[in-house]
């Protein structure tokens, strides 16, 4: 946007805005909040809902503010009788085909359509329903689509295509039969969908939600036969407060631990412990590939939407993917083997719940190979029916709902500490929550292992921030290597196409599925903007500086688990419990 200013009149008030500004922003300067349902910052506007209409002097018909730029001398009215009537009719037409399910809807209280109906003072249904019910898509492990609640705003379609480069869904049909559909109107599970959940964070209604597992978790918590362990992903401490009404960027680590104890979790552990472990395993894998001539560039594997993506779209590049399981899955495997054995708890009676910023994590828990602990016990002669390493993955939003249901006031809780030993972590593990963080954490460790000396500057600034693809250069073993970090899958495509073409200059690549990394994940609070992503990222880096130890290899609990249980990184037990394999996914 240029520095030139444009002067126009909105509702009789003169406002001056930078050239190129849209009318929605310009109107804010005049104190007018133009209602919108389809527009969303950062996405190409579909201009489909019709709520943002305004009257522009000299124009024959009303204009949609979301796609109109401010022009010098323009005279705009946002509340003329004509505007108010058209706006209301647009909303009433949307509501005509909308079920009255608010009382039992996941979005009750967080729904833009509901809020708009309230704001516009809708008290009756003037238009009859014309659409037939379409039913729900519950085919995937992570995402539920309910097209009957869809208002065809197009946000999900554009996020999926533009931000994620997946294009699993599109509008299908026309007229009254228009709907959002995957190929052949089949369930998302048979489409290219990677279950990243980005569509669910932008949907204005309850048409796309995570598969809600809170009831099952309540049941486990209330079952006397179960010992329930919980692990929390790094990004949760930077977003749970926001999900419960605190300011975006609130850092609530200790309060979150306290709330989880109050909910009845028997042990409160931290996925950050296994994030540190991931660095040990993945760092060792990188060193081994560098010295023994393995496939390079090596690419990180902690983001399950990303793993689904490469398995579906670039299966020939799978050898580039690190064989490390994600920290969530490493945690589950160790909780039900190492921890169960130490604590003398029957692994079959353990329930592992993870709190994740992510919907794809739900699918990850149910990959058929993710029963390593059960296999391990079987190898020791144990019998009994099989179980997954992780039983439930809840999103930040689901945990927030449980905390509200229990009547826990997060903001006023005193801070508590994670339990030992699977709750000990470092600053390096915290930054897994932001784009560039896994790479930075890995470099902090790999550098010191390879060079045998202390890193002068811990913070790799070029790898931080919301730029789509970031890169840095590091000297390792006398050789300069280039590394890159990309977030959101359309950016991942750029790096993958380079690898496929044989022109990738990188040795090590980090990819996270979602914009901003986990802080902007598909299970995070609704309607993230870059401003909110930055605030959440800020909380992550604050936490990194707050934790006394900031390098994974210096975590004493990590040293201990290698000494007492695992042996060494990439050792036999590591392979059994902490590493995995990938396979092509067809759709």
């Amino acid at each position: 946007m240029s520095d030139k200013m444009v002067i126009l009149t909105i509702d009789g008030k003169e406002v001056s805005v930078p050239e190129g500004s849209g009318l929605l922003d310009a109107a804010k300067g005049a104190g007018a909040d133009i209602p919108t349902l389809c527009y969303l910052e950062g996405l190409v506007p579909s201009a489909s809902c019709g709520l943002c209409v305004v009257e522009i002097e000299g124009g024959k018909s009303l204009s949609r503010a979301c796609v109109t730029k401010a022009i010098p001398g323009m005279k705009v009215r946002t509340t003329s009788p004509r505007v108010m009537a058209a706006r209301r009719t647009a909303l009433e037409l949307l509501l005509a085909n909308h079920p009255s399910d608010c009382l039992s809807c996941t979005r009750n209280g967080s729904c833009e359509l509901q809020t708009m109906a309230e704001r516009m003072g809708i008290r009756e249904r003037r238009f009859p329903r014309t659409k037939k019910p379409m039913g729900m898509d519950v085919s995937t492990e992570g995402i539920v689509r309910d097209n009957d609640k869809c208002i065809l705003c197009g946000r999900c379609v554009s996020v999926c295509a533009e931000v994620q480069g997946v294009s699993a869904i599109q509008f299908a049909g026309r007229g009254i039969r228009t709907r959002v559909a995957a190929f052949m109107d089949r369930g998302l599970a048979s489409s290219s969908c990677v279950q990243c959940g980005q569509c669910s964070v932008v949907c204005p209604t309850g048409a796309i939600t995570e598969k809600d597992e809170t009831r099952a978790v309540w049941r486990a918590l209330q079952s006397p036969a179960k010992t329930v362990l919980v692990q929390t992903a790094p990004a949760i401490r930077a977003s749970l407060g926001e999900a419960l009404g605190m300011a975006p960027g609130s850092l609530v680590t200790g309060k979150m631990v306290a709330a989880l104890r109050k909910l009845g979790f028997n042990r409160v552990f931290d996925t950050q412990f296994t994030a540190d472990l991931t660095i040990m395993e993945e760092g060792s894998e990188l060193i081994s590939r560098l010295t023994k001539g393995g496939t390079l560039p090596m690419i990180t594997s902690c983001s399950p939407g990303w793993v689904n993506f490469i398995e579906g779209f670039y299966p020939t590049l799978l050898p580039h993917l690190s064989s490390c399981k994600s920290p969530q899955q490493m945690f589950g495997a160790l909780a039900k083997s190492f921890y169960a054995e130490r604590a003398t708890i029957d692994p079959g009676s353990l329930s592992v719940v993870s709190i994740m910023p992510c919907t794809a994590k739900k699918r990850e828990t149910q990959r058929p190979e993710m029963r390593s602990a059960w296999e391990w016990w079987k190898g020791k002669g144990h019998q009994g029916s099989s179980y997954y390493d992780v039983d439930f993955a809840l999103t930040t939003r689901e945990l927030a709902r449980m905390i509200r249901e229990a009547g826990i006031d997060l903001a006023s809780l005193p801070e508590e500490e994670f339990d030992d030993p699977l709750g000990r972590s470092t600053g390096a593990a915290t930054i897994f929550g932001a784009t560039g963080g896994v790479m930075e954490a890995a470099l902090r460790t790999v550098y010191e292992i390879v060079e045998g000396k202390t890193l002068a500057e811990l913070e790799f600034k070029p790898l931080r921030g919301l730029h789509g693809i970031k890169e840095a250069t590091v000297v390792l073993g006398g050789k300069e290597i280039r590394v890159a970090a990309a977030h959101s899958l359309s950016n991942a495509r750029v790096l993958l196409d380079e690898i496929a073409a044989g022109s990738s200059p990188y040795t090590f690549i980090e990819i996270m599925s979602c914009p901003g990394g986990c802080v902007g994940g598909g299970g995070q609070p609704y309607l993230p903007t870059d401003a909110k992503r930055k605030l959440r990222t800020g909380a992550i880096y604050t936490e990194d500086r707050r934790i006394p130890i900031r390098k994974s290899h210096e975590n004493p609990a990590i040293t201990a688990i290698y000494k007492e249980f695992l042996g060494e990184p990439l050792g036999h037990l590591s392979h059994e419990l902490l590493h995995t394999e990938y396979k092509e996914r067809t759709f």
């Binding site: 295509a161 294009s167 869904i169 039969r177 559909a181 052949m184």
Partner: protein, 172 residues
């Protein structure tokens, strides 16, 4: 491969159609149209849609989106004969619902839900009945197209006789 070479000698294959058109403006629409023309039962099978997506580098959902947007495209095999009833406002007020019902009854087709889809084929694949939103021939309402020929101011009697003529000449 040069597109003229294909066009002159023989009916091009789907792969040739894709190859000749891909990358050009409006390619997808043209390819879908030609692909439907290749198919004996005038429809786009799932396999055809997949090949087009792959061949043009278009996401499957986008190909499906285009194929379901235009009522010209069929996603199910079509009968030997085609009857298209216009359901635009003008035709509707002049009795096109009755015409639609007549066509379905005469062809022995049950269970057509106009609000759910726009075409149905008789079980013996003898004929397909399709509705369109508007033919753009409102002055001649109601209009019905039978095997590509547009008939105007159609009455129930006229439609019945048009349909019974289809059965003549050993067609069925």
């Amino acid at each position: 491969m040069s597109s003229t070479a294909i066009m002159k000698n023989r009916v091009p294959s789907l792969d040739e159609i894709i190859e000749a058109r891909k990358g050009k403006a409006g390619a997808l629409l043209g390819i879908l149209e030609d692909a439907q023309g290749l198919e004996e039962h005038r429809y786009l099978s799932e396999d055809t849609l997949r090949r087009i997506a792959l061949g043009t580098g278009t996401p499957l959902s986008t190909v499906y989106s285009v194929a379901t947007f235009y009522s010209f495209f069929n996603l199910a095999p079509q009968g030997k004969h085609s009857i298209v009833v216009c359901r635009g406002t003008a035709c509707h007020t002049r009795g096109s619902l009755e015409l639609l019902e007549t066509a379905l009854a005469r062809l022995g087709i049950d269970g057509f839900r106009e609000d759910e889809c726009n075409s149905i084929t008789s079980l013996d694949a003898f004929a397909s009945v399709r509705t369109v939103a508007c033919f753009g021939q409102c002055a001649l309402a109601p209009v019905v197209e039978v095997d590509g020929t547009l008939h105007s101011r159609v009455t129930v009697g006229k439609l019945a006789s048009l349909i019974s003529k289809l059965g003549k000449g050993g067609d069925k």
